[in-house]
């Protein structure tokens, strides 16, 4: 190790220091909410600034195990934004229920640290350890309302299936390590390129590929590895669901980019069919089941499964020879983050009073009860549907265009994605119908979210609009970040 390696690692060090500072503040002023939130947000702001100061460089650290490039910077910024937004939304939900915010913020920032480490991993072992650092705090957060049986149930399911899938992924990595003799991503890629040039791949590699695909598909909640998702999402406290639906999912795609694209890139002809099948199953099943849901949180859980499918189309497009698939994945990840977190934020605002369910009937007349919340929810839902000119439209457009350019079976996949987007309109717009065409319940109290919450909601709303009206801004960033060799 060189001392200069610490410079490349600076964003992660800052994130860890932020989490530690939040805990220290909580020791100094136990139970005080404002100091903990302020420390967390200021620390995250510094972390973002440090990431930006490193952006544009490409450097490796720790003997090539960790790499700072455009992809790392893009994902790091996204993860920091996810953490900051979650903290802004969380207190409105946690405070009325008597749940502490300091632990929440600290655990969340530790999780984000893991995700940032995933984004820069160039070594299979580091990748695995970073992935675990990302998901372990997630189990904790899912069970954060520990006196709520649903929260506990969701957390246990998430934990059991999550650790199971980690073991499966690790077993797959063991095969690859055994056959290539290295855990370094570039060495693995070089060895696999040689193996692939000889024609058919060894049975051990095929086995490893199967295990790794299953492990990563669990983490990103792709069908048929999605069973934990609805229960974990519905049971978790709503701000946690907001985090779980974007943080670990984009983290799993970061794993896919570092593992499948960078390390297993030479084998892409072998994993392309698997990804096509996964993508087709994931979007179709996610959307079909979402249609039948009456609970909005559960509906958004299935919708997040469907969105995993759309993002997988981008991965398939890359494997089909269209390099723009990677920047399409990144664009989708960023757009999805803002619109989905915004939608969950509106549910959080509705559930501020303990005991309010996330049933669709809760949304009745929201447009009249609170015009701003109703309008923003409609904006997020339309964006999730993929209506122009909102961010969600461009996200789908880039993915689908990349797939069509790749041609072959991917054209069929692109058509399937478009059909799915049309089917998804049904269940997203059903909520809009409830908000504007039903009368609110007689006893519905006025909604008054906190100031920080409003700021967060404004950020997600503006991002959804601006990235929709001027997609070139985000596209420039995702294209610069998507030049991943492999």
């Amino acid at each position: 190790m060189n001392w200069s390696d610490l410079g490349s690692l600076a964003p992660i060090i800052w994130a860890v220091l932020t989490a530690a500072a939040v805990l220290l503040v909580d020791i100094a002023a136990p139970g005080r909410r404002a100091p903990a939130i302020a420390t967390a947000l200021m620390g995250l702001a510094v972390t973002a600034a440090v990431v930006l100061s490193l952006a544009g460089h490409t450097e490796t650290a720790f003997g090539g195990a960790y790499v700072v490039d455009g992809l790392t910077a893009f994902l790091d910024l996204l993860f920091v934004a996810i953490a900051a937004l979650t903290i802004m939304f969380a207190d409105d939900y946690l405070q009325p229920r008597g749940l502490p915010i300091a632990e929440f913020a600290a655990v969340l920032i530790f999780a984000i640290t893991g995700a940032m480490l995933v984004a820069g991993s160039a070594d299979l072992l580091l990748l695995f350890v970073a992935l675990e650092l990302m998901v372990l705090p997630g189990y904790l957060l899912a069970g954060y309302a520990r006196n709520d049986p649903y929260s506990t149930e969701g957390a246990i399911k998430y934990f059991l299936l999550g650790s199971f899938s980690s073991a499966i992924l690790l077993f797959g990595l063991a095969y690859v390590w055994g056959l290539t003799g290295s855990t370094r991503v570039d060495v693995v890629a070089a060895a696999l390129a040689q193996a692939a040039a000889k024609g058919s791949i060894a049975p051990g590699l095929a086995m490893g590929l199967a295990f790794m695909t299953a492990g990563v598909a669990f983490k990103m909640a792709a069908v048929p590895f999605h069973y934990w998702t609805p229960d974990a999402y519905q049971g978790s406290p709503t701000p946690v669901t907001a985090y779980l639906s974007v943080g670990p999912k984009i983290g799993a795609f970061a794993v896919a980019l570092r593992l499948f694209v960078a390390a297993l890139g030479p084998l892409k002809a072998d994993w392309l069919p698997i990804v096509i099948v996964l993508a087709a199953l994931t979007m179709t099943l996610g959307n079909l089941v979402a249609i039948t849901q009456d609970n909005v949180k559960r509906m958004l859980a299935y919708s997040s499964i469907a969105h995993t499918g759309y993002i997988l189309v981008g991965l398939a497009a890359y494997a089909g020879g269209q390099h723009s698939g990677i920047s399409a994945i990144l664009f989708y990840g960023a757009a999805y983050t803002f619109m989905n977190m915004g939608a969950f934020a509106v549910i959080t605002a509705l559930q501020r009073r303990p005991g309010v369910t996330s049933q669709i009937s809760t949304f009745a007349g929201l447009g009249r009860r609170s015009p701003w919340l109703g309008a923003l929810m409609a904006l997020f839902l339309l964006s999730l549907t993929g209506i122009p000119p909102l961010a969600g439209f461009w996200a789908k457009a880039y993915v689908i265009v990349a797939a069509i350019q790749a041609g072959g079976w991917l054209t069929a996949l692109a058509v399937l994605a478009m059909l799915n987007a049309a089917a998804a309109a049904f269940y997203y717009l059903r909520v809009v119908v409830y908000m504007y065409m039903r009368d609110p319940a007689e006893d519905a109290p006025p909604l008054s979210p906190g100031l920080l919450f409003r700021v967060g909601l404004a950020v997600t709303g503006i991002a959804t609009l601006v990235f929709g009206l001027f997609p070139a801004i985000l596209n420039a960033a995702s294209s610069a970040a998507g030049v991943l060799k492999g």
Binding site: G178, P203, G204
Partner: protein, 118 residues
Amino acid sequence: MTGIWYVLGLAAAGVGFVFLVIGLAWVLSHRNRGDGDKGLPYESGIDTVGDTWGRFGVSFYIYALLFVAFDVEVVFLFLWAIVFRSLLLGGLVSMGTFVLVLMLGLAYAWRKGVLTWR
């Protein structure tokens, strides 16, 4: 086809490892069998009841957690102490930071009242 044997071999090794570790732990933890007096508490304490592989109260987990944290810390401290001279000041600063972060965890647990028996 050496490839097939590689797949089977690694799968067998993976399954075998699980049984090996649990089996070894069982063998080691049961080696007092036949000499019951060895298992009795020394001078004072409550007589042991049942097997150590039974269930424990969940309130013990926090001690297990803290124990593991500090146990692992000692592993690192030991290696560091051996090469202490050649690491110069950098080594002292690194290890100081490491221990400080761990102590922060302990201080936090203490302040939160985790160490008080309930």
